[in-house]
């Protein structure tokens, strides 16, 4: 229960969450070291089951809130890329587009 913490950003901002990769898990204390853009933060794992090293998690006020789904992350970007094709096919406005890409 004596976490050493490296702040990746302004520690005064409580509400921002950051995605990072778990690099180490202390199973007894249920605390992970999470790598965020080169620095490390500690995150309590009390709110999540079945997390392992190399998983990406969203860290918020010292806890991992949720695992990040790589599949969903890619699909979100794919939905935007599809817009290019649809707008190339027809230059119709948003109001009149028949086929919704989303």
């Amino acid at each position: 229960m004596n976490p050493v913490i490296f702040y990746p950003q302004n520690p005064e901002t409580m509400c921002l969450s950051i995605p990072g990769k778990i690099v180490f898990i202390d199973k007894e204390e249920k605390i992970a070291r999470v790598s965020v853009g080169g620095s490390e933060v500690q995150a309590g794992l009390q709110l999540l089951d079945n997390v392992k090293v190399n998983d990406y998690v969203l860290v918020h006020s010292g806890f991992a809130l949720q695992k990040i789904s790589d599949k969903e992350a890619k699909e979100t970007l794919e939905l935007i890329r599809i817009l290019e094709q649809s707008s190339a096919e027809s230059d119709e406005s948003l109001q009149t587009t028949k086929r919704s890409p989303i």
């Binding site: 409580m14 969450s17 809130l65 406005s93 919704s100």
Partner: protein, 360 residues
Amino acid sequence: MKYVQEYRNKELAALLLKQIHAWKGPKVRFMEVCGGHTMVIQKYGIPGLLPSNVSLISGPGCPVCVTSLQYIDHAVALSRLENVILTTYGDLIRVPGSTSSLEREKARGADIRMVYSTLEALAVAKNNPDKKVVFLGIGFETTAPASAVALIRAREYNLRNFLLLSAHKMMPPAMEAIVDAEVKIDGYLAPGHVSTITGSNIFHDIPQKYKLPVVVSGFEPLDILQSIYMLLKQIETNDFKVEIQYKRAVKPQGNLKARSMLKEVFIERNDWWRGLGVLPDSGLGINDAYADWDAERSLHVVIETTKEPGGCICGEILKGLKKPSECPLYKKTCTPVNPIGTCMVSEEGACQAYYKYGAA
């Protein structure tokens, strides 16, 4: 950084903006509820990229901003007690109370410590067995589980000197109150991080009851733009529902483990919000099983009479009725260095975000 950089891609942003600019419908105004969204939107200059018939307005989702002065005054009174250590997230330290602030009390010698997590606050309690260690629990469903974990642990380890002063709040009642107050909005960019815990299902009533589109959004520029596009699509098709744009982190049912911990520790109660007043069942009090760890019940202090700062329009800003630039104090007597109202204190407050990133 993975899951960050790719959502700042310029070409993809241009694709989304092209679609948004094709909007030929009536003027629409969407409310971003979360203070984190307000920051991102201002930081990346998103309002300036949108067409004149699509605009954004900030809502009540900055935890520090909606917290009552009475809570700050309560914390100030606790900090003056002998043998009390206050632990808090940094945001609260500079918030002016009626006549003092935690920063001022700290300068006068009160033992007030900034922590990054409730686990740190627990460690302070463990290392100071002869002191009462109070954690100031503010924030929405995103920070409330952290407080719940702390109380469950304190009970497990029989750590009797750790106490929580809860001002935790829940987002959906405030979102309904905004519409009930007849603030004119055409859709909600719903808070992404709150939703990682609550799930998107919690917003279900809003499209049903108010015929408003709701999209749970992530926090990078592409997330915001894609969410705006999805909101426009819902209006266009007249099909109002809750959609998740932030699918990489949000599930319809949320984080069940965190939700069950909230249920174990907290109980819904009426709570006061700056700008919105008292909203039924919008706050989280500590339930009887954890009464011994409740600072409200265990430590008795006299709280001074609340005095809101004159001229500050933070309440109207939180409600989406006014913009920071319409406040007579904004950029004049009220600045991030010398904040008068809570909307200027917090990084997530609309006033500070507008001030910092230069929006009019």
